[in-house]
Symmetry: D2
Subunit: 284 residues, 4 copies
């Protein structure tokens, strides 16, 4: 089991930044395992992810903030410390299509996803058997067209009760309200079944089929108030041809969706995703 | 050198179609090399491409139509006979970016594209050196903002004079008028530097960069009156990351554009592309 | 539910072949849904797959052979008739890695794989929980190094008892004997975790890592007596970089293996795979 | 035009490394544009590439070595300073296939490859027209089977005379002797027309066709004494099917070869490739 700390930094690009961070870590005897940085020349922005082994690290984590504060202040850093030992709590929202849920549950069970899943929330009961097979609590929350607010209130209660850190929409077919989204900013991951921004909105496979595209796609992104417009975490495509009917698109797309969503979820859990300007930097 | 005939058929799907065509060819001693067909169940449409060696074929090509007419009538066929021995005349339109032109000229020269290139038309002179290097006539036709019609008239004169069969827009940065397009229906091939329908219109790389996509694309399609909306012949994508600046997108995209356009042009030349419902069937 | 017949033909390439088959089907009022053919010019071989709806078909299937025999004889055909309504019986062999098994079981359960799974055979018990979750009988057959023959005898008994049509080796880590393989010629599908023929044999990820390749692969193939040398059904690759440790290769590879194996299994079930010259033709 | 310095470091992994380098650069007022590092945990190796703008840099480059020496010594660094302003001299060796040469010449001419090409060497004259079109000196050096040594001596004279920094084998069909290779260690880049290590040696497309693979590949690598065994810089693949004849493989492969080789050459020129353990790290 890894026992590492991960420092995520975002700030105006300035000389001496890397030197200051590297020197700080060195003085406290950090054994750096990975360090990645990115400069956005146009926005004059600096982003960094550095991960080190906690084995030899001299500084107690409880005192990290106090010691790091002067550097953070000097460079006007937006920063965050994450620990690989902490397993974040992930809730999965799902409707009827179960391929993404089945994939996430298998990856969780096999140890690929270092998180806990305190609950699955669904507006249908079709996927309960999967939750049961993997031993994950399943909550059926019906969403009536004219009582969405009430349903969301109930969902939020469940999320709070289970101390959920982030939410994965595994083909959840309800649009969440801005109020709901505000509770989990940059912490709701969706899978959209198209190569965004193409075919945003409803029925993307139908529209891809009609348009006669030669590749279909899937996009995983953070949910923002504007539908299908949040920062993209991962995308991929698969080749199709005239031999593929709409059903084939849906089936080939399902394999894409699973892979793309699971990559995004893993990167989120491993604190590899940084956000800026409605985009992501993924330090892989 | 191949000496084959290619029959392209499109008609309502009916029983006995394949039997009738296969029997007709057999009776005239055709040695079939390739046969591909496609049924669109929803539209009840049948599409076929069959290619045979002319070596043993008994029927003189001048009499093909007369002999095939009864079958064509019976099944209400839209059909066309093409000969591999005929080298279609391709005009290339280009502006300043020369990567697609350079690629087409090299493939033509190396024998990959079985066509003649009687002329290159450009609204700039930047690419003249390439035309000269490959020995292809170059026509500079300036396009003034307020004299587009005149420019198009001149272009059409040139095309007619050279008996051009089809036009390739190799990053030609002018929008053609519907009047112009009507002269070459389904015979103008464009390369658009995005994964259509995403980022149709101007500056697709800039917009892809801003949106933070993880893949960039290129699309080759037939030109119709509606901008970037014609039947797609081929598409492909390349992976990018946050490390790629806008310049990198443009450079990686250039490699995509070349490959995608050259595939589309080759398939068009080889009579592999059939059209229906604003889509293509590519019999590869 | 589809109710179709599929005719698979392999024979020396000759004139009149397509006409004879198409005419035969037409005379019996077949409504052809798909027809694909392939000619191998070098080997002068003709391969065909034609699928038609049985709704209007006049010929009782029990009499198909008698009526088709004259054509088959005339063209020296190797042929087979398959029915989409028949669900073949698939046995899955697995050792400890369970990702391929989990994937197959999910696809079976979701209706993507039109087959029955009468049993899972394993030389370990690690995957029993998955078999139980999906309600599939699980047989633990230990394979002692010095009692392989006995184990295979037991396996063959089980396969016969359950009328198994074909076997999928879903990361089964034992080499099967030629005697065993002879009982299921071209009916054992394996997944090898490399891009064959690179890294055939043991520990392909380790060797790929050592060699410093930039892509890893997976290959699904029919099992023959020569290890990892049978006809390839499907292959795919994924990009890796120096940032990927051996563990990352194994994890990224697992996703490849699942996808590649499931495609091969589906094509086999749908009678899309034809064999010749230690190769496959996949009519997709 | 970029005016940057690039420091490439390889040394045993130790604490304080990044801090020491970052501090050194900061003290001399470097404006870091990119920094990438890689740790190989198993080999306990540290690799770094850092690029900074020379605009504000206080340290005259002529004194860099003297000032950096103490740090280099302390950490037992293998290091190198490269300047983006220096255009390395690249010689291209080619035989009869000209697609890679044409591609490199176009990319050079268009400004994508920041290098000079003082000469093209060929054992045939087929590609002279291309050299002429792009205005690059062409040297015809015949290689007789029993006078290879003599030919190589002549080639080496030419390379020395033109102060060549590195050599690109753009489908050069002669095997170079170890003696020759010793003169340009890790400075000869080859393109092999297969997905190495599959199909190393002669006629890879023929063998790929015979084996019935579903993807073909191309590999660019540094040349070492062992044929097709040097450190891989880049690889890519393309999908093929039974519809592709050997000719199609060769043609599709040509597009792969061009792209893969040009990427490798560009990365080499931009000092992005580091070597260790017969592998490459490509800092892209």
């Amino acid at each position: 089991m890894k026992n590492t700390a991960i420092l995520l930094v975002s700030c105006p690009d300035q000389k001496g930044l890397v030197a200051a961070i590297a020197d700080f870590l060195y003085r406290h005897n950090a054994n750096i395992l990975h360090a990645d940085q990115h400069q956005d020349g146009a926005l004059k922005l600096f982003l960094m992810r550095v991960e080190w082994d906690l084995g030899d690290f001299h500084l107690p984590l409880g005192e990290f903030e106090r010691h790091f504060a002067p550097i953070a202040e000097r460079f006007q850093m937006d920063w965050r410390l994450a620990l690989s030992g902490y397993r974040p709590k992930m809730a999965v929202f799902v409707s009827r299509y179960d391929h993404c849920l089945a994939d996430l549950l298998y990856r969780h069970q096999s140890g690929e996803l270092h998180c806990d899943i305190p609950l699955i929330v669904s507006n249908h009961t079709d996927t309960k058997w999967l939750a049961d097979a993997y031993g994950i609590p399943f909550q059926h929350v019906t969403v009536h067209r004219d009582a969405k607010e009430e349903a969301e209130r109930l969902q939020l209660d469940l999320l709070r009760h289970h101390h959920v850190d982030f939410i994965v929409l595994a083909r959840y077919m309800q649009v969440l309200s801005p109020q709901f989204i505000h509770h989990y900013p940059s912490r709701i991951i969706n899978i959209h079944h198209s190569f965004l921004p193409a075919f945003h909105g409803a029925k993307p496979y139908h529209r891809a089929f009609e348009r006669g595209v030669k590749l279909i796609g899937a996009t995983s992104h953070y949910v923002t108030e504007i539908l299908d417009d949040g920062p993209i975490i991962e995308q991929d495509v698969a080749r199709i041809s005239h031999r593929d009917h709409l059903d084939d698109l849906i089936q080939k797309g399902a394999d894409l969706e699973k892979i793309v969503l699971s990559r995004a979820v893993r990167w989120h859990i491993e604190n590899r995703v940084l956000l800026y300007a409605n985009k992501t930097v993924v330090f892989d």
